[in-house]
Amino acid sequence: MALDSSSKRVFKVVGTRPPRPDGVDKVTGRALYGADVSAPGMLVGRILRSPHAHARIRAIDTTAAEALPGVKAVVTARDFARLEGDKIIDMGEDRTSLRDVRDNCLARDKALYDGHAVAAVAALTPEIARAALKLIAVDYEILPHVIDVDAAMRPEAPVVLAGRAHENVPGGMSPNVTNHCEFGHGDLEAGFAQADRIVERSFTTAATHQGYIEPHACLASVTGDGRADLWCCTQGQYNVRDICAELMGMQASQLRVTASEIGGGFGGKTVVFIEPVALLLARKSGRPVKIVMSREEVFRATGPTVSASIDVRIGMARDGRITAGEAVLRYSGGAFPCETVDMGAQAAFACYDLRAVRTLGWNVLTNRPKEAAYRAPGAPQAIYAVESVVDELCQGFGLDPLEVRLRNAARKGTKSSYGPTFEAIGLEATLEAAKAHPHYSAPLGPGQGRGLSAGFWFNFGGNTSVSLSVNTDGTVGITEGNPDIGGSRASISLMAAEELGIPYERVRATIADTSSLGHNDVTDGSRVTFAVGLATIKAARDAKQKMCARAARIWGIDEEAVLWEDGAAKPSGPNAGDFPPMTLAEIAAVSFKTGGPIAGHNEAHADGAGVSFGVHICDVEVDRETGATKVLRYTVIQDAGKAVHPDYVEGQMQGGAVQGIGWALNEEYIYGEDGRLQNAGFLDYRVPVASDLPQIDTVILEIPNPGHPYGVRGVGETPIVPPLAALSNAVSRAIGHRMTRLPMSPPRVLEAINAGR
């Protein structure tokens, strides 16, 4: 559904900032999250995890645990249903192997990382469950492990999983290399030949974690006749259902999954970890089973980001024109294959209009937990490396980094570095807004540095179902299938109210369980406001058409002679007759006498998600004696398309920026020589705290997305992309030394300063 022809549409409700419908529940403690429900007779489920980074599981003896009074079930990987071959699960933005999901939930032949689940128990109390775990004897044969992505590519590296290389991976490489991709166009060498300066650098970025405050939690119940219910915190209840049903050997229709309120996800709750295990335990014990992860389990055994090693080479002419760009990306998504490097390789140069560009990507297996999506997966690392080299070239020529980006900016008609030609995009406008912002021209003090970075994300649409019911009192209910992770009930309700011409307060949006509505893809790819909004508008238009038909019937005129305007059906056209408009409430009030209940619905695959660009400006001050970096000022400028609820658009921009700041400065997975994670807690996995930060200023640009009737674009992911380079460029300029490794923790910054003394 393309942008409404009147793209200068005046909105009445969309663009306002009303209170969110779930606000009172969430400020009073009433909202129910994953761990907040219980069931009669409920057991406590706990998981035994591998203490080894890599080990063959010779045997698991559960007899002593089973014999412990109060233990009602013990399960291992053998309890899963047999899989006939493998199956690829389409998760919308991402694809994953069912076999890998199963083996990640409970290790089968090998434990592949520290924290990998190997068995689980259900018991009457947490104490008994904990005691039972100690009674499970696992016979491990410890194997050599590999943690570092570059080390894992070497031919002599320990092999994490053999036989998993995609057919496009050349022979002779380590079996750990599973995927390869290549993007680009133009004559690279000719491009570099035109350059007045070429900078080539290598970068590394640590694996980071989404750091949602709510640990994974679920409550499973399976009855003797094969029906099951699952309550869990997830970004996509339908995917949970489909995966769990396959692993349990159940029909999807017999498993109802209800999404709880969700305490953050950022991509990390798009996959399953404990849910299939809870179902196994519930089936085996015949009682409801609740599993709640500890924070330590969240860090050790959910899905952090890839760790990356990246080489970038860029040529620039003296006037700031980029003549050629090349990047080689080596990502490790942990112990199972993943395709995240594809997105990094596509995104790396997406901000630029280049005649010659090439990116190569490699995915490598390591003994780390399997990566999950984290806000624009794969893009922050790649764009960090590219934007760092562009900044260094600007410094070398003494050019303004904004002018150089404007000069080379991708625009409408640009053949993107990853193939498609861009439609209307907002990068130039975003750069111009950054240039005009007072932050960009504010003076800097001694020891301070200013960094700039552009960023990009694709955004995604995907499969969506929405049902909209018109109640007889003139109110409207929307049933949608994506958990409200940051205000989407409000934005969906705003679009419904706008389309129907009724007040926002008369709309109530409800998140459906999997039995109450058709399929919805997971809440990812910044898709909800775009795609669910689109489906909501279409469902509202469906309902409007039906209401016009009812009015036509009441008036005794043709349906075609009735149109919907300002929340009411009106006769239209020369032969329609002269009837006073009938409001939604009036039509709804008599609906039982004019044909029955009125509802609209829409089920579709939403295409047309518009790409989005952002520019971040960051000022830092570095303590030259300790290497500590203080963020003094931060501004986020982003093309959001039409901002449906501007408060929550700003919130996405601020939250994404701060996650990026954490990634740049302090967050990292730290492994010991033994391959075990050393900082599995919020004490040493250092997410930004309130006192670390300044205000995060925001500028929303609204360049309409041609692929949405209101011009809506995805917003949520792009803001995590620019901070890595914005911070690195700021610190590099402040200390006079180019930083090439994230995070820029104080010891690394001090080392760089010392080297330059």
């Binding site: 302090n666 004490l683 250092r686 930004p688």
Partner: protein, 287 residues
Amino acid sequence: MRYVRPETAEEAADLLGREEGVSRILAGGTDVLVQLKSGLVEPDLIVDIKRIAGMRDITPEAGGFRIGAAVSGAMLGEHAGVKALWPGVVEGFELIGSTQVQGRATMAGNLCNGSPAGDAVPGLVAAAAVARIQGPGGTRDCPVAEIPVGPGRTALGKGEFITSILLPARPAGSGDAYLRFIPRTEMDIAVASAAVSLTLGAGGRVAAARVALGAVAPTVRLVEAAADCLIGTGLGEEALAALAAACSAACSPIDDKRGTIAFRSQVAGVLARRAAAIAHQRAGRTS
């Protein structure tokens, strides 16, 4: 695990002395409960000392203050007298954890946890504070500096626990300060830290000084060589540089997830220098 709440210190020491399994004292609980959660310790006995008389009191004594073992950071931070006399000790203690943790954490607990990175400890050592210890056989006093003997280990014997810490009186013209380095602004464990306590004498020269470093050795370390760099000087650039060098030289830290040997050694010197300047300024105000 058995939880008990004795009414007297003697009763507590008796319970602790007779316990054959693992026992833990509960005052603020901010370390003990974390250890329970992680399964690091599985005590058989928990002795809550908060109901024992005096444990939550701050009492003037001989020109100084006796701080009960269950006095929280929040309580100490609200005590104007202690803050005026030993500002460095108070600010060091107040750096531990969050507002929430400050509502519970105690100096005695920070000391007995035995971590070389405890933020309350260097200030106490620099202050020459003395712990009063209750044991099955009675009470004894022990300098705080002698309590920690290694990571996680203390000089306390079977059945012994700290009931209070005495912050001594100090002459006019004295000041102290504590600084630590952490990667964030709050919520981290010190990567390196330094406490300086000094007294100015005639002509504004340093008459006495004590310098203690945290997180750079198996225990909090009193560095006499560093104090010697200050004594007799007017705390000029040269003395401060010598102090920093002496502190860095006194470090024998480890490489770990929080910092490197080189980083800790260098930064400990920087912090000592900065803390000395603050202590000097404070001493000037009270002389």
